[in-house]
Symmetry: C2
Subunit: 397 residues, 2 copies
């Protein structure tokens, strides 16, 4: 796996029972995955030579992020390196404008979009769509809300244009909820899909994932699953495909996609019979896929963000004592405010109780100033998946 972040760390964990000899190309021995992987290569994913050296002898090469240069991927493919996903598929996770164009061509519902080389094009786009605000996105390199700007005025758009990066513009979708669906496809062509989840973001960062999406109409869930499987096939994905969706006016719109393990699937480690990390390994190695059924009626995952207090052991001690059934995952990452440093998962029949437990655990593990968030009174309501009168089939559970 190219990249040494927490996704590689958790994939490393999943490789152990499969007997897979897992290697990581990391920037540094201190990287999250490098700390736990028995076969770390320190190197630069922007260097073709480093990638070539790393790939030698691998049965499959896959990715923890989308940032490997496309030209390098093509060179590796020409040299018969078994890349999963391959460059043709990965192009659509690397370039948001290419993704939008391709998906629209396939008839996949997306927000309206246009290239945004300058302010006139943004003004034109605004006229044809919902008006202000509009969303500007870096076509490459964004993550966790970085590279996405909601612009209320031409002045704000001009400021973003001033950054000098390639941009596209999208309509600002007034969604009822954000959903995500995780599909997986093997080179052989076997596909599988996990239950649709609801994601709760704040400041562009995923805070909470609820599995399955509470109150989602079964017809919409089936539609989302079919969409993800179809996209995986049409795009030629090998490995995981995470599709982030808006639910707006009772319709599904594709927001973002990723071709790797994804934050929306961390709940699967304990909450599904096969974790997304094992599933990704099985897919990229062309092994038969595992069942995606849930192992509990509900699973709630909450991300742990960095705060400012370095006493993680003390906080861990407290959280394990307060909630001995909470599943805690720490990534071994250095503290930086707002950075994802871990996640917690709660499993069981009572969704509201699971949300309280997951949010309390995550807030307490957040180092420093954010401990007050642990108060149950601070739990936010889930954005409505099925507002009254809109989705007849939806029932809140």
């Amino acid at each position: 796996m190219v990249g040494g972040g927490q996704l590689a760390r958790m994939t490393c964990q999943a490789a152990i029972p499969l007997g897979v000899r897992f290697r990581v190309l990391a920037d540094s021995p201190a990287d999250s995955a490098a700390q736990v992987c028995a076969a770390t290569t320190v190197g630069d994913y922007r260097s073709l030579a480093d990638l070539q050296d790393f790939a030698a002898g691998c049965d499959a090469v896959t990715f923890d992020h989308e940032h490997v240069p496309a030209g390098h991927l093509q060179a590796l493919e020409r040299a018969s390196v078994p890349l999963h996903p391959g460059p043709a598929a990965l192009h659509h996770a690397q370039d948001k404008l290419a993704m939008r164009r391709h998906l629209t061509g396939l008839g996949v519902p997306c927000p309206r979009f246009a290239p945004a080389p300058g302010l006139p094009e943004i003004i034109d786009f605004k006229e044809m769509s919902r008006g202000w605000p509009v969303v500007l996105k870096a076509t490459r390199g964004g993550y966790d809300g970085k590279g996405v700007w909601v612009c209320e005025t031409p002045g704000q758009a001009a400021e973003v244009l001033g950054y000098g990066i390639d941009l596209m513009v999208e309509e600002h979708v007034p969604f009822e909820a954000e959903l995500a669906v995780l599909a997986v496809r093997s080179p052989f062509g076997q596909g599988a899909v996990y239950p649709v989840v609801q994601t709760v973001q704040r400041d562009g960062i995923c805070r909470e994932v609820l599995a399955p999406a509470p109150g989602l109409a079964p017809s919409l869930a089936r539609e989302a699953e079919a969409l993800a499987l179809r996209m995986a096939g049409e795009l030629g994905v090998t490995g995981l495909l995470a599709v982030e969706l808006f639910l707006a006016d009772g319709r599904l719109l594709v927001n973002e996609l990723a071709m790797r393990p994804h934050n929306c699937g961390h709940w699967t480690i304990e909450g599904a019979r096969t974790s997304q990390f094992e599933q990704h390994l099985r897919a990229v190695l062309d092994l038969p896929l595992g069942v995606t059924a849930m192992a509990a009626p509900h699973a709630v995952m909450a991300n742990v963000l960095g705060g400012s207090d370095g006493d993680m052991l003390g906080r861990l001690h407290h959280v394990l004592a307060a909630d001995p059934a909470l599943r805690v995952h720490l990534y071994g990452k250095a503290m930086r405010p707002g950075r994802k440093i871990g996640h917690v998962t709660a499993l069981g029949p009572d969704l509201a109780g699971l949300r309280r437990r997951a949010q309390a655990g995550a807030a307490y593990l957040r180092w420093g100033e954010a401990a007050a968030e642990a108060e149950p009174a601070d739990i936010e309501p889930v954005p409505a998946v099925s507002p009254a009168g809109k989705l007849g089939e939806g029932t809140r559970t």
Copy 2:
């Protein structure tokens, strides 16, 4: 963890989400745990210098086996190395005669036993107990049926005496079933216990573990749990204590014990909310313990033993395709007939179906000649936990 076998490998896996920097002292870089651990030291557990070097800087030192010389353990303890379990506790897992004497002194029910320095003592013992056969055991160093001999005649006993090792003699208990119970205790004194399981052995090697023990009377389950927790406290165990039990004439008798993760608890990886491996880490680091509740109504674990066919990838492919819900754990161990090279776990509501699936998966993964065992017709009945008329409270489930 001292020792690089599969128990250390699976503990290494459990250390990742806890953010624990896990180190292994292995005999070789090819050891099961050394293959996956990011911080392996190659050294000799029989060398005090190697142990001292390895322990430097560790917050806790624990064990994958019982074979570290007692004198070394005492020397490390005198040097304030944080050993868990400590030498005083571990003595009772290392020396079976000392264990029997201590447990008998505590009023813990055990088979009748005696030291066996020579044939006269064995003959005397036979007169006082159930007669032939008797069981001779090496007081130290046995595992997986090694170091245990069922002797039908004085001639067979004389042959074992001829091996020149320290022996004890025990009555041969005509048990109805073999059970096991796994307790855990932290230095702080917190204790927890997993549901009692039934183990099925063949040729002295555990083949199958059924969790919870089917049909076991609740009163006996509570008695076994209380016994294990009491023993953990009385022996001063820190970490896991596995207690293997005979159920004979409706009574529980302690057969063997171990102070480490144990084969009888491999089902907990997916079948319990906290795996035995994570629990051991939490205990030896004096972190609060996790819940031991089951994550499914039943879990069945079957060991995969080595056969003679080296094409493990082909076999794995077949088993994953045939049973996409089966959990497969491979240990990365070189093939040797009869050696434990992995295990599989099946989870769900239908015990008979789970046993068929687990045995079929394990038999197919057994390299070579044993594939015929995969036939469901070969499934053996579970030895009766509650034979008719003996255990009134027992109901088969």
